[in-house]
């Protein structure tokens, strides 16, 4: 069972500011972390390997520092790591990201499953998984709460708004992993250190991937943000209740009572 896990490095907080004067993003925190949901995907891969054997490859597209997210994946137990990094990838939307990932997966050739997180904490679009599946012409099983492998098929429990479904397909397939599926292991510090000392992160640029340059990076992104602006949501005037907790509590409950809200 050879598995490729797609992981993304995301900003540590989502508090990204916008400077209206210069028109640029201000990232209060420059630190990047491994997308929390992708840890569930890595954990799922590790558990499948324990049962069925095989090789786990973690792959990420991002700037050089995204290598840290891949080291963390190696520290958790992935066997190999590939970073797609090239200035030309910059500015990619979800379609162009999944296009670059699809080229890399065609180069990897041998895999039975691709696992993605359900969504990234910064983009939260949940689009890259399904788009990648389409570009590789694979069946997609999204929002998996459970994965069960039989000899030549895979089943998932798919989460829906009002319940779940059991879906079945053959290999190879792409699965997106819900947070509920598992509790990701926390790699011990020494295995992360080892991942830096003894394991390699392979770096592939546009030149290594081939493909259609028109579909890469900003140029290959059909969606564009036309305008980014601050919007302070306002309603009417606010009435502040002030004083000791008991006093304000009494006032608020009285207001609710008068408005027939109790």
């Amino acid at each position: 069972m050879d598995i490729v896990v797609c992981i993304k490095q995301v900003p540590e907080t989502n508090e990204i500011g916008w400077d209206p004067k210069t028109g640029t993003l201000i990232r209060e925190s420059t630190g990047g972390i491994l997308n929390p949901n992708d840890k569930n995907a890595i954990e799922a891969a590790l558990q499948l390997r324990e049962k069925h054997g095989g090789l786990i490859t973690a792959i990420s597209m991002g700037p050089p520092q995204a290598g840290d997210a891949l080291r963390e994946a190696l520290g958790m137990g992935a066997d190999k790591a590939i970073l797609l990094s090239d200035r030309q990838f910059a500015g990619a939307d979800t379609l162009s990201t999944s296009y670059a990932l699809s080229l890399a997966l065609k180069k990897i050739v041998r895999f039975d499953l691709i696992l993605c997180g359900k969504e990234s904490s910064d983009g939260m679009t949940a689009q890259v998984g399904p788009q990648l599946a389409e570009l590789l012409n694979l069946p997609q099983l999204t929002n998996a709460m459970e994965i069960i492998i039989n000899s030549n098929s895979v089943r998932i429990k798919q989460k829906l708004e009002d319940g779940f479904r059991i879906l079945k397909t053959s290999f190879p397939a792409l699965i997106t992993v819900e947070r509920e599926m598992n509790q990701p292991r926390i790699p011990p510090m020494d295995s992360i250190m080892e991942a830096y000392r003894e394991k390699d992160v392979l770096v592939w640029g546009v030149g290594n991937l081939g493909g259609d340059k028109e579909r890469i990076g900003l140029k290959g992104s059909p969606t564009q943000s036309r305008k980014v602006y601050t919007k302070i949501v306002k309603k009417g005037e606010i009435t502040l209740l002030e004083g000791e907790p008991d006093k304000v509590a009494r006032e608020l409950i009285q207001i609710l009572k008068n408005k027939d809200l109790l």
Partner: protein, 339 residues
């Protein structure tokens, strides 16, 4: 790799999601909104309805704003399956060439839309909370919160067609049907064989909870990061019970694992319109307010007088939830004792 002959594309399409022959509310919301947008463009609205034994709802879709309903009614489409629905919709899109395709951002819509966009090699903007039209350029403007606290982005797809957008359920208002509207029903054949499908649905289980869902709740007590532990949550539950309210939350307590994801309110959670919303330790980030700003009465309890939520609350208490909430509980109990 942009789309050739952009001007050949015309009209607005809405994918109609249905379960057991009942249209998803968000699909009706999009027909309604789509009608308004299409009128600005002078374009037609086409609904795409797929399933088994679903023809019965086609007429209703016209009442909600469709000019035409394309109906694919076939046993193979009984359950939603990515591959089957993608094949059907792609065939129609290539034939009809709509300039805009709208899909509800439900579990199914979020599975389908990106698959379609990759096959059609076009852009899809996910999880929008508002839509607008640039009539001159014939562009749909997909509006959504953008990462930071108060940031919004207008996203466009200038050179690819159709322009695809998924929209959160509940953010658009659903107006009453117009039973005088007339439209065309178009039945199409599905030329897919079950033997060729790769994915099978073995079982579907609907959860049968009779608890009032968060979306329908009359009153909501929302927990933010100011309620920073399990104990705090227990206290909020007590307050909610006394008020007859449901508990909701921001995304951070969900990420922390304190509360389940189906309680999340906001751009990537539920949209609510209760008569009363009480935010406890909620900062009021735009991703959160996107899902609750239409609450009738908004009360905010927060230690920070500069918190964004005080910009749109009707009543504000600048104070610590761990002190205010117990006082509210005490007060509510004493009233109950009196009656």
């Amino acid at each position: 790799m942009s789309t050739d002959n952009l001007e050949e594309y015309n009209g607005l399409c809405v994918f109609i999601e249905q379960r057991d022959g009942n249209p998803a509310r968000v699909s009706l919301e999009l027909l309604d909104e789509g009608r308004t947008l299409a009128d600005k463009l002078g374009a037609d609205v086409t609904a795409i309805l797929i399933g088994e034994n679903v023809s019965g709802i086609a007429q209703e879709l016209i009442y909600y704003g469709a000019d035409r309903v394309i109906i694919a009614d076939d046993p193979i489409a009984k359950d939603y399956r990515t591959e089957v629905y993608t094949d059907i919709i792609v065939e129609q899109v290539l034939k009809e060439k709509p300039e805009i395709l709208l899909i509800g951002a439900t579990c199914i819509g979020r599975d389908l839309a990106p698959r379609l966009s990759a096959r059609l090699n076009t852009g899809c903007t996910a999880d929008c909370t508002e839509l607008d039209i640039d009539t001159e350029m014939r562009l749909i403007i997909a509006i959504k919160p953008f990462f930071g606290r108060n940031l919004m982005a207008d996203i466009v797809c200038p050179f690819h067609r159709p322009q695809m957008v998924t929209v959160r359920p509940g953010v658009m208002e659903l107006k009453a049907q117009d039973r005088g509207r007339k439209g065309e029903l178009i039945y199409i054949d599905i030329n897919l064989k079950e033997a060729d499908t790769k994915v099978k649905v073995l079982e579907t289980v609907r959860s049968t909870s009779d608890a009032v869902s968060l979306e329908e709740a009359d009153k909501v007590v929302a927990a933010g990061m100011g309620v920073d532990n399990q104990e705090g949550f227990e206290m909020l539950k007590e307050l909610a019970d006394l008020l007859g309210a449901q508990i909701g939350t921001t995304s951070l307590p969900v990420d922390a694992g304190w509360i389940s994801e189906d309680k999340k309110i906001g751009q990537t959670g539920k949209t609510i319109r209760p008569r009363l919303y009480i935010g406890c330790g909620v900062s009021g980030a735009i991703q959160h307010s996107a899902g609750m700003i239409n609450s009738e009465l908004i009360v905010a309890i927060n230690t920070n007088p500069k918190a964004d939520i005080f910009n749109f609350a009707d009543y504000g208490i600048i104070g610590d939830v761990s002190k205010i909430v117990p006082a509210l509980i005490k007060e509510l109990k004493s009233i109950k004792d009196l009656t």
